[in-house]
Amino acid sequence: MRPERFLGSDPTPGDLGSVDRVAGALRTVVLALTESRQKLEGLVGPHSMWQGPMARPIVDAVTELAAHLRSIEDATVDFAQAVEVWRTGLAARQQRRAELTEQVSQLAGRPDAVDQRQRIQNDVQRLATEHLADGAVLIRAADLLAELLIDADDADLAADLDRGVAAVMIAVDEWIAESAAELVATAQSLSDTAGLTTVVSQILGVVGDEAPDESESVRRLASMSAGAHRLRLALRRSWASRAPEDLPAATFAASGSSSRPAISERLGGDSADRTDGRAEGEAR
């Protein structure tokens, strides 16, 4: 039953299906914002690997993005709630509109029902006024969200992260280069490759709750770890300046390590000629 036919005009225009689609899309947006923000926060949170002053630019850039997402998320949630309120009111008013339309239709052909018609028209007017008032609330909510979206001033995330990662890598390079001699000296005192892994892990700053599976850790450090890769580079750079020309290639790979000469032997110099038996022990 078309309300316009009996009430003169529709006092409560609006399609519930359209409003539901808007609400659904807003839920999708809020979900995307929330999940993304949480991932970013977890990435650089207090328990993440990105700690210390060298990682600060990366943490700051990601944290700033997460905070920005949070502000949009909050504003979108507020707007979504306003849409839900609008939807609830719309449904109730349209139900009331249907009732009034039905009542007017029942009065058709009754010229004596002037008072009843007037009462219904008053109800219709109140309904229309309430509809417009609630609509104004929704418009204000939309304006608030729009204002926040306009005010957004993006930082250059890519440039910030590029600089941040580059700074960390330079710092790692410098640190490993500075530590190479210490690492070599430490390796000389080790009795086996597994022990080497432990010390290297400590020096590289590996933080773990569990004791590492030594052989697995060796393989992992040697084949996957960026730290190990850089470590090898650093050590080889160190060897290049200290070792004789026939020095075999360096490796921290687990396989075959026991058949290679000890690092101290490959380094040459005094350690290979020591008579305290330690150098021999290192090879085993």
């Binding site: 808007v22 999708t28 890598m169 040697a222 770890s225 790979a253």
Partner: protein
């Protein structure tokens, strides 16, 4: 530098997360773009909703680009920090 360990993995995770943000926001922006809420209420209400949803869609699209660019900027460093998968570690330079 304590705490920075497997640097390549951390950089890759950072890039992957940003790529994920890119994908999430791109999908959300598409969902808004495909929406045609023309009759959600009286004309001024419908107009306000259409405008704010369009603005939200553009914002999410911009955030997706920002995150995607960030992911690419980070990923470019991976070649510097770790060997590419392939030959065994022994063969790495």
């Amino acid at each position: 530098m304590a705490g920075i360990t497997v640097l390549a993995d951390d950089i890759r995770q950072l890039a992957d997360t940003l790529d994920g943000v890119d994908a999430e926001f791109s999908a959300a922006a598409r969902a808004l773009r495909d929406l045609m809420p023309e009759d959600t209420g009286p004309p001024d209400v419908s107009t306000a909703l259409v405008e704010v949803l369009a603005r939200l869609q553009r914002r999410l699209g911009a955030l997706a680009v920002e995150a995607g660019d960030g992911g690419r900027a980070v990923r470019r460093h991976l070649d510097d920090v770790a060997p590419r998968p392939g030959p065994s570690a022994e063969g790495q330079p």
